[in-house]
Amino acid sequence: MDFILQIVQYFVNLGPAVMLPIIIFIVSLILGQSFGKSIKSGISIGIGFVGIGLVIGLMLNNLAPAAKAMSQNFGISMSLIDIGWPGSSPMTWASRIALVAIPVAIIVNIIMLALRFTRVVNIDIWNIWHFAFTGAIVDIATGSYTLGIIAVAVHAAFAYKIGDWFAPVVENYFGLEGIAMPHGTTGWFAPISVFVDGIMDRIPVVRDIDINPKHLKNKFGILCDPAVMGGIMGVIIGILAGYDVQQILTLGIQMAAVIVLMPVVVKYIMGGLIPVSEVARTKLQKKFKNSKFYIGLDCALLLGDPVVVTASLLFIPLTILIAAIVPGNQILPFGDLPTIGFFIAMAVGVHKGNLFRTLITGSIVMFMAIWISNQMIGFHTILAANAGQLTNSAARVASLDQGGSPVTYIITQVLDMTNVAGFAAIGLFYLICVICTIVWSKKQYKMLNNK
């Protein structure tokens, strides 16, 4: 183990922008891609890392001081900016766990399929980063590479089960037949929506409230554009920070730039992973092409549903409001706002498009995510520093996705036990939700079979 660790550490020390291109180039060649394609994939992933470093630098150097000034002016504590999944996924891919996370997640999947523990054939290689994040955090918290790998496996196994439990919803509500979503973000909160649905059904009057918007999104128009949204947020924060006009306008443009450029640069990292996902996809499909299996895909596929879009837009201001009332919260939601739909997409399906219930589930989910991500700031900052993305040594980072995931939190706390009360509360609540989900899912499958 030590020898392997030394080799891995040498590569990690090269820095992600150099290490990952080499790794991807070699892996790509081994998987049978052409020389040209392999080298292009490798360089692409390097470009992505250089790019995300620049964008995160822009954010930490300009937006973070503004958020701090705003916090001081108003006596609120939100001085840390949420880097979102476009910030946290590259850090994870740069960690020493990520290299083994892809094969580990695939092997766990194959074992579970062989033992008939799951029907999900996961071909969504990109989102293995969610499991890798859990592994990386455990690795940092315990200092044990082995425990980190085990954490990846546990999280992956849980995600595949989530895929199984919610496949009927994906089929019935979203109309995607034969597809499951073993996704790290949409996955973890989905059981909470089942719990909320169960409670709602038992309260008279409340159970009859059904808001089902189909055309609301057109009224928001240009506001759903991330560039406009980022600009407006920048200007508001600038005003609250007590900046002068010049600084306010600059901050507006900088914030718009961050929010628009983040997915643009992350795209290159995804581009580098394409040869790996292509091969994994074809191999897994050949082996498990029977109709009894679900193909595991990215829950980005759910984000275009009209109710999901409407709920996502409502949750942009709502999440900031929730952040203001979470006790002791230091994090200003930002990087995850344009894709806040990842947090609520499956809830919309479970609630059958009922916006009222989605708002309740979503509020609980965001409250939890923000509270948990506060507990994760320490580990998350180490993860960022390891990835070489902290230019300022005083900077600290946090993300709602994946830093706010209870799955990551519970697994880390089991091994680390730094906050026993928090662990007990979150763990117990989440366990109840998961048990509800298992019972509920059996019913869903019965209904599906009776159709």
């Binding site: 999944w85 476009p86 071909i123 969504d124 990109w126 989102n127 979203f174 109309g175 995607l176 597809i179 999104k217 128009g221 240009i222 759903c224 554009d225 991330p226 997915p263 992350v266 795209k267 995804m270 581009g271 394409i274 996902s277 996809r281 074809t282 499909q285 193909i295 895909l297 990215d298 829950c299 980005a300 596929l301 759910l302 984000l303 275009g304 879009v309 996502s312 344009p338 894709t339 739909g341 990842f342 997409a345």
Partner: protein, 92 residues
Amino acid sequence: MKKIIVACGGAVATSTVAADAIKELCEKNGISAEVIQMRIIEIENNLDGIDLVVTTMKIVPNFDIPYVNGMPFLTGINKEETEKRILSYIKD
């Protein structure tokens, strides 16, 4: 020069897979095309001069521009038919 929008929920993961496949398809068939990636909610505001819209999830299009569901690029099922449909819209 054809302009193609490829969109998904987050403009990173699934749309990159589809965009990559479509770029390759155009190259193979000698079509010069610009592939623009974005989030599904951005499509409406960016339709000027676009020849084709591809999304990796099923949407009900509320625009007149040709639309193709690009999910086969992710699942591999019906991929060839989808490629043919895309070509039928962007071939001169």
